[in-house]
């Protein structure tokens, strides 16, 4: 039995403007059977297809048990994403997926969770935060750290406010350039550890963002005696097929699209941040 793969049609049910260059598309497969059968885990991604333009890998930010909507938060930065930005409610796209290995949610159950994200790359872990919030009693203390370059880059500001009011949850934000309306820390992400309360023996760390930022956070975590195996991160590379066949996403021996995009730190540390890989 051979497998051919093509997208399934989905409709844009809602479009949310997060910032002038970041938007969220809330999708539903037009075929109810396809929608009902679709399953994913936080950290996996879909290939979104725009008619006549092409495909782009986008992580899924909605909850895996949300039966109504499949959310994708997208930054308009390239040929396909700039065109996707122009779509409106009712427009149709193609969805192919889900692909890849997601976050270790089962292993993290019953433990504390640290989420550390930098830059604009926080979408892959928003699914984790939402996942934990909906199952709050199944997880211990939740620490959310987010570092941005400029205060204006922070998206989901209301959500961070809402998360910070949840029990047993700490939200820590930092901007390298703060500005007058920035109530949180000014500096790079590692400054947030001054205020974090973390138990290294009982915490699973999950990160995404620029590799330099993730390396800096790993250094802090190691100083705090975090075991390397408890540190997880989401990698980004050029991905076109999703099956580990097209070759673009290779990172040393790994195909990021199928072996990742979520990796345990020891799996990728030898090449992390190495120019050209």
């Amino acid at each position: 039995m051979i497998t051919l793969r093509q997208p399934c049609e989905a409709e844009i049910i809602e479009r949310i403007e997060e910032t002038p260059s970041i938007f969220t598309l809330r999708l539903r497969f037009t075929d109810p059977e396809v929608h009902a059968a679709y399953r994913f885990t936080p950290g996996q991604f879909n290939m979104l297809y725009l008619y006549g333009v092409g495909e782009v890998p986008i992580s899924i930010v909605s909850d895996p048990e949300d039966e109504h909507m499949l959310d994708h938060t997208i930054r308009a930065v390239g040929r396909v994403t700039n065109a996707l930005a122009k779509l409106q409610v009712g427009d149709k796209v193609g969805v192919r997926g889900p692909y890849g290995r997601g976050w270790p949610m089962i292993e993290a159950e019953g433990k504390d969770v640290l989420i550390a994200t930098g830059g604009l790359g926080c979408a892959p872990v928003v699914s984790v935060i939402n996942y934990i919030m909906r199952r709050r009693q199944r997880f211990g203390r939740l620490t959310i750290m987010q570092g941005v370059k400029h205060a204006d880059d922070l998206i989901w500001r209301e959500q961070y406010d809402a998360w910070s009011k949840q029990p047993n949850t700490q939200v820590l934000l930092a901007a390298s350039e703060g500005g007058s309306m920035w109530p949180w820390k000014v500096g790079h992400l590692p400054v947030l550890f001054e205020e974090a309360v973390l138990d290294p023996r009982n915490t699973t760390a999950m990160m995404c963002g620029p590799e330099g930022m993730m390396i800096a956070v790993v250094k802090v975590l190691q100083k705090r005696n975090f075991a390397e195996e408890r540190i997880w991160l989401s990698m980004e590379r050029n991905m076109q097929c999703g099956d580990g066949k097209c070759g673009h996403c290779q990172h040393g021996g790994h195909f990021v699209c199928k072996d990742g995009p979520v990796f345990a730190y020891p799996e990728v540390k030898s090449l992390l941040g190495t120019k050209g890989f």
């Binding site: 793969r5 495909e55 590379r237 070759g247 040393g252 120019k275």
Partner: protein
């Protein structure tokens, strides 16, 4: 070892006919555009009788070879790769109606039983690697369909080129497995053995003679000779650790300054599998085709990410190619991605020699130490 039989040159046409009658479209090497290319072929007379090849870094010339033989040459720029992994193909088509609804239709791969006469041992080794890549995990339906109906007649190498080094990678000059039939060409015909049940059945339909002891010995001697005359070599063993321990070696800059990043090496490499997916919208807006075509890690687009190129310079691209081919390939497929065919050396316009680069990087050619 299966019983050896003998097929005189004068009866070679019968092999073509038997394969054709068994439902295969027969492919065989023929002279095209100054090279040897595998293409549909009905007549044994169209084989490259009396043709030889002279290869060296950056150079490929056909010349007069052994007049009594059809396979007295090493290889051409391509062999099995384009037959199974199409250089360009459509994956799906999409139509959009007036309401903006999209209808996706996968492109069904065409099923055609093919027999290839004249497959080299290095190309069988490369095929085995592509099987692991395209059929492993989520199997590629297009490759899988073509692979299923493929009859392979290997011809052991008797005339390796100056660029060949299959003896050092363990992939030649004699085929060990992965074929339906294997031939050793002598001056008056072929020593034939089967390698599969389909091959065995087919052999029974041929009026084969007993292979004499002298003929079998001549075939063995020829194989040994084809190994002994090879002058290039790849260091043995898994080179992943030593190569990745040398990511800052000055040789990457040096070879990067010579490399044109043209991608010839990746095109002719029988194991390179990278491909890019592309969109071809119809001019009248009625539909769009999603295609894939061979890509190369020497292009800037290969490492494009969020408006940036991860490998912006040629040294970084050459390093990616070599550390993958000879290094991380071991982690992915349990062996090196190099089968010693020498094509990347021959077809490089500036004659970069992969064996020379690896020896320079490892210093003295020892693979085991970092």
């Amino acid at each position: 070892m299966p019983e050896a039989r003998f097929l005189p040159h004068s009866h070679l046409q019968l092999l073509f006919d038997v394969l054709k009658n068994a439902g295969y479209r027969v492919h065989a090497p023929q002279v095209r555009d100054g090279t040897l290319q595998i293409a549909p072929c009905h007549n044994a007379a169209d084989l490259p009788w009396g043709v030889g090849d002279t290869q060296s870094p950056g150079s490929y010339r056909l010349d007069e070879g052994d007049r009594t033989r059809a396979f007295a040459w090493a290889n051409g720029p391509q062999a099995l790769k384009p037959l199974l992994f199409a250089p360009r193909e459509t994956l799906w088509r999409v139509a959009r109606d007036d309401c903006g609804s999209l209808r996706f239709e996968p492109e069904q791969p065409k099923v055609e039983a093919r027999a290839v006469i004249g497959v080299r041992p290095c190309d069988l080794a490369a095929l085995d690697i592509h099987d692991r890549h395209f059929l492993g995990g989520q199997a590629d339906g297009y490759y899988a369909t073509r692979r299923k109906k493929l009859f392979l007649v290997a011809v052991n190498c008797s005339h390796p080129a100056e660029t060949c080094f299959c003896a050092s990678t363990g992939d030649g000059p004699a085929a060990q497995h992965g074929f339906d039939l294997v031939l050793d060409e002598l001056d008056d015909g072929f020593v034939v053995r089967h390698g599969s049940n389909v091959g065995k059945v087919l052999m029974q339909r041929l009026p084969l003679l007993e292979a004499t002891r002298q003929q079998r010995q001549a075939a063995l001697d020829q194989r040994h000779h084809a190994a002994e005359v090879q002058t290039r070599s790849m260091p043995a063993g898994n080179l992943q650790a030593p190569l990745f321990a040398r990511l800052d070696h000055p040789r990457w800059q040096e070879v990067g300054a010579r490399c044109l990043a043209c991608g010839n090496c990746t095109s002719v490499c029988p194991t390179c599998f990278c491909h890019s997916e592309q969109e071809q919208p119809a001019l009248d807006g009625s539909g769009s085709e999603h295609t894939r075509e061979w890509d190369s890690c020497f292009t800037p687009g290969h490492s494009y990410l969020h408006g940036n190129v991860l490998r912006a310079t040629i040294p970084l691209r050459y390093r990616q190619w070599l550390t993958h081919k000879i290094g991380s390939w071991n982690e992915q497929y349990g062996r090196s991605g190099c089968v010693g065919c020498g094509r990347c050396i021959t077809w490089c316009p500036v004659g970069i020699d992969i064996t020379e680069e690896v020896h320079a990087l490892l210093g003295g050619g020892e693979g085991g130490e970092a």
